[in-house]
Amino acid sequence: MSGLVAGAPFQHSGRNIAQLMQTLLYALLPGIFASLWFFGFGILINIAIAITFAVLAEAAMLRLRNRDIRSHLSDRSALVTALLFAIAIPPGSPWWLVALGIVFAIVIVKHLYGGLGQNPFNPAMCGYAMLLLAFPLAMTGWHIPFEVITGPLSVDNLGTPILTAEREFLSQLSWGSFKQALLLAFPFAASGAIDISEFVDGLAMATPLIEFKMAGKSALLAARESGASLFARESETAWEIINISYLLGGLFLLYKRVISWHIPFAIIATVFILAALFYAPGSVAIYGTPYLHLFGSATMIGAFFIATDPVSAATTRPGKLVYGFIIGVSIYSIRVWGSYLDSIAFAVLFGNFCAPILDQYCRPRIFGHGLRSKSKPLPNEVPVKP
């Protein structure tokens, strides 16, 4: 099993890990552009910080583990982790938050388990979950795009002050907003241009789903009583467009055969079916519509980009379907009955827990095995000594 074996086959498809990762990065671009459009420069700054620290941490760990830095860095897996992580982190987070999370992901979750291919859990999601547990306040403050805030569900009853003017300012793509985003990420550089504390305190919740959830029953009931449709504005939200962008990226990955259809299909189908089952129009509508679950939250990026991370996912075809089902159920139950806002990270980590046993028990039937016809002893069995 040494490095270079000159045996057959001599021909190769020419694909390599770096190419796969590259395709993945390309597929993320539409979603990132959509986020950029709606959330401003915060996401770009997140990405820049995450990539910087990811590459530094990866190089340092490779050095410590006596691996060839150049060849291992060029597989671009650290870039993918950094990007997925940066997308999950709220824009406008301070730099140390991003750095802490990504270093945790690369050093502890990836390299201490043996590097690429060995980590049992998704590094990006582990980093995200760690931050969510350690800094819950910082991790749940998102800039809501101005369209959302001007919608009918102004969350007044949550008691969160909303600084509409500043937020509108931030989500615009201008040099000024870029400067403000930078200041948000690097608060120490603030020289009185803007009062950071006003921003940070004033941030509200992220996705429509979360708003919806935080609004809770009372708001819903109130809205229903007043005859306003809670779901009317969903089709207009930024998140919908962002989700569609990620969906397009995911379809591109499927087309390029970087991922297989099993996991995304199982997740989306499970979430959809559960949402459809529990959302009964006219009943206590605390569950949200299927549409809201699919396009008003982070389901698409989770299903196509995060859950399909091959290293930590189940690897057999039937296993992938069950894995997707488990993640789908987890996503839905954590969202609806759990106390966390959006649940992709925990659902994927729970799926990761299940992956090894799925690989062992959900195997495709081997060609020529388990046929019912004539049963002959297989030549596979080691002869038992008398």
């Binding site: 099993m1 490095g3 270079l4 074996v5 000159a6 045996g7 057959a8 086959p9 001599f10 021909q11 190769h12 498809s13 694909r15 390599n16 890990i17 190419q19 796969l20 060849s71 597989d75 897996s77 590097g115 690429l116 291919g117 060995q118 055969r257 297989s260 091959p310 290293v311 996912a313 690897t315 057999t316 075809r317 992938k320 690989d359 195997r363 495709p364 039937r365 081997i366 060609f367 020529g368 095995h369 046929l371 016809s373 004539k374 002959k376 002893p377 297989l378 030549p379 596979n380 069995e381 080691v382 002869p383 000594k385 008398p386």
Partner: protein, 544 residues
């Protein structure tokens, strides 16, 4: 789906049927055009022939000639007896006339790459042949007759297995055969020997198939060919319509061009939908498969009475000026063929035996062509990429998607690395057909097949060790039992012997003596049985 297939059949002509979907598989670049550009060429007689007579996996060789003997073309040189699933004899014939110079070990162009016993024949150039006995009307021959004629001609599986063709017919006799499949699915890149053969001599192949159908008493005869070989398909259609094929009993089935579609079990599944269980022979399921080359050799053996002294071999690779297919005499050395194609030896990197996916590096250019050598590639330095550095497995599962045996190569790799025998067997390591499709798609460039081969070897050694161990243990226990028995006998003799001189002891002792004598004579066998039982009981006791 079946309606679609019928529609397609109508479009392509009534004798063409489309096959089912294949399991897994890859579509590598075929690199077949170069060697198909020219027609099949018969090689001139080389001065020196090295005719392999060694059976690769044990077996007995009966030499029929001696060193210094003058032999004629088609004369029997030796008989190889192979002990797989019963004894089978395969004769080896002289490809040309000449003098036998020596009999020694040399390298043969087959995948074991081991030295085999070979007869060195110095050709005299006269090519004096023995009188042949053609059977022009094969339909009058009985099954047994055909089988024995094929056996005498030394025809073996030309696709690469080298399983004696007559023995397959014998297996056919043991169960009713529904399908005879002629395997024209030459899916591996570079190899074009079968395609070229079909293109130029399809009629003879069809007659060979007819003979095999008669000999195996198969109900249907199917020629399976990939849909990417239009010339060969046209030739086959012509042949099937021609007068030689009076019964019109052969059918043509087009299969999707995917590697490894030509693998026996996979092709059967693709063509008939029947899945052969692991450990079963296709004939047990009423299916028998022959390669196109074998069918042609059968035609020659029966209709022309010619023993198998040549085969079709592809010579290709960027290093050859005119790559083409040859009808090669068995025993020709590789370098002779390379020179015929015009080789630039200056920058030749390596020679590969077989195709680019399952081939192996040719140990020496002096290697002799044997009956299973289907392709030789003279690769230039930049033709095949040097193996890239192995990266970690990211469990992407591409390998599992292309595996024709529906295995999980990524899991097998993990278990191979930890040498977890139980899991390897559980995951079907021995169902791996070593086709190399997983290697081909692996983005981490892991040499998977090599790893599996190592693991297989490891498990085989372990299994062999266990077999030895149990044998030795039996021998040891038998010895212990034997020693014990001898000791017991010695003791009883000792008891008996001192009693004789002490006459003073009186009649009582004598009586006792007599009694023991009496017993030892009458119940000797019973005593032994009792001792055996005792030993056995004790052993059982100890074992528990």
């Amino acid at each position: 789906m079946s309606a679609l297939r019928q529609l397609a059949s109508k479009f392509f002509g009534s004798d063409t049927v489309f096959a089912r979907r294949t399991v897994g598989g890859i579509q590598p670049l075929p690199f077949k055009e170069d060697s198909l550009r020219s027609r099949i060429m018969s090689t001139p007689i080389p001065q020196q022939l090295t005719i392999p007579i060694g059976a690769a996996d044990g077996g007995e060789i009966t030499l029929l000639v001696d060193i210094g003997e003058q032999v004629s073309k088609y004369q029997k040189l030796a008989v190889i007896s192979i002990f797989t699933e019963g004894v089978s004899d395969v004769p080896v014939h002289a490809p040309t006339s000449g003098v036998i110079t020596s009999i020694e070990n040399s390298i043969v162009a087959d995948h074991s790459q081991q030295q085999q016993l070979c007869i060195n024949l110095a050709a005299d150039g006269h090519d004096e042949a023995l009188q042949l006995e053609p059977q022009s009307n094969y339909s009058l021959l009985s099954r047994v007759n055909i089988a024995s004629l094929i056996r005498d001609a030394g025809v073996i599986g030309m696709g690469g297995a080298g399983f004696p063709a007559a023995d397959k017919l014998r297996l056919c006799g043991e169960s009713a055969i529904e399908f005879l499949i002629i395997n024209a699915a030459e899916c591996e890149p570079y190899i074009t020997a079968d395609e070229a053969l079909l293109r130029e001599r399809a009629e003879k192949v069809v007659v060979g198939a007819e003979i095999l159908k008669q000999a195996s008493a198969a109900r249907r005869c199917i020629i399976a060919i990939e849909d990417t070989k239009p010339d060969a398909i046209d030739a086959l259609k012509q042949a099937l319509k021609s007068e030689m094929n009076l019964d019109q009993t052969c059918e043509l089935v087009l299969i999707p061009s995917k590697y490894p579609a030509g693998s026996e079990r996979q092709l059967i599944k693709c063509v008939t939908g029947i899945e052969i269980a692991t450990g079963q022979h296709p004939t047990e399921n009423g299916i028998v498969m022959y390669n196109v080359g074998t069918a042609y050799a059968v035609y020659e053996a029966i209709v022309e009475g010619k023993p198998c002294v040549s085969r079709f071999t592809t010579l290709c690779g960027q290093e050859l000026k005119t790559p083409k297919n040859f009808e090669v005499l068995i025993g020709t050395t590789a370098d002779f063929l390379f020179e015929l194609c015009g080789i630039e030896t200056s920058n030749k990197q390596k020679s590969i035996l077989g195709g680019s996916l399952m081939g192996s590096e040719l140990g020496s250019d002096k290697a002799a062509i044997c009956k299973t050598t289907n392709c030789l590639i003279a690769a230039s330095a930049d033709e095949f990429q040097a193996p890239q550095a192995e990266q970690a497995c990211i469990r992407c599962g591409f390998c599992a998607d292309v595996c024709p045996s529906k295995l999980l190569p990524q899991q097998l790799l993990a278990f191979s690395k930890t040498a977890d025998t139980t899991q390897l067997l559980e995951h079907g390591l021995f169902d791996c057909i070593e086709c190399g499709a997983c290697d081909y798609v692996c983005p981490s460039h892991i040499p998977l097949v090599s790893t599996y081969k190592e693991s297989k070897k490891l498990i085989a050694t372990r299994r062999q060790d266990l077999e030895h161990g149990s044998y030795w243990q039996q021998r040891f226990q038998f010895r212990q039992y034997r020693v014990k028995k001898e000791k017991d006998q010695a003791v009883s003799r000792k008891v008996a012997v001192p009693a004789k001189p002490t006459l003073a002891a009186g009649p009582a002792v004598k009586q006792q003596n007599k009694k023991t004598d009496f017993i030892s004579k009458e119940q000797a066998s019973l005593d032994i049985a009792a001792a055996v039982a005792r030993v056995k009981a004790r052993r059982d006791e100890k074992n528990q």
